[in-house]
Subunit: 132 residues, 2 copies
């Protein structure tokens, strides 16, 4: 349940995405965004545990898919054609890049910024473990 | 529903925390972590919409508090005394720093790494908006 990057071992990986010019009606529909994010989870080979999606007044959706491997979260601003998304996975069996690729394609994002953050550096974690 | 940093305006702010040496029994209890994360949301002056927390086999909890202002997510590894947390807020009324401070104190994290990520740069969003 960990992966290597150079000499370091991390428990998880998080992809942050800012998707621009998403001129797509799903951005104002919690049902549609839930379906898209669950399909993104499947594209990433993740196992869905539970999804919660809400509509916000007057515009926008917030939603999270809790997966066996961590979580996927999304927030939409239809009035800005903007989507902010996090794909956080642990272990070696799920691939957040594939979820991101799926989302960008489905929402026809014309532009996007991606950032990758490694989570849980195992050497550092072990250095600080205290006695029970 | 936005805030300034220098000349730039962002829709949201995300605090990523890696908390080490959390020798605390709550790390293996979804009920306890839910209570702690909801109190963190209140400490941040956020409005709770819905919480989902799950226990993972053999150890660990994953949970998300969807808030009016975006979401708070947490993953725990009790066997590593490690907690990975995201506090994502939008607008000017919620303060993720206060949630982080609360969590660090309650879990008695001996060490932590924090990272702040600005989300949704409004000038960039508007540059890419397409015609309906």
């Amino acid at each position: 349940m960990s992966f290597y990057k150079g000499e370091e071992i991390f428990l998880g990986k998080q992809l942050l995405g800012e998707l621009y010019a998403c001129n797509h009606e799903a951005l104002n529909s919690p049902e549609a965004m839930k379906e898209i994010m669950e399909k993104a989870a499947l594209a990433a080979n993740a196992t869905i545990v539970q999804s919660v999606f809400h509509h916000f007044s007057p515009y926008g959706v917030s939603g999270v898919v809790v997966i066996q491997e961590s979580h996927f979260a999304v927030h939409t601003w239809p009035e800005h054609q903007f989507v902010s998304v996090d794909f956080y996975t642990c272990g070696e069996t799920a691939f957040p890049e594939k979820a991101m690729q799926y989302l960008i394609e489905v929402l026809s994002a014309a532009e996007y910024d991606l950032k990758e953050v490694k989570r849980g550096e195992l050497n550092k974690i072990e250095k600080f473990i205290t006695e029970e």
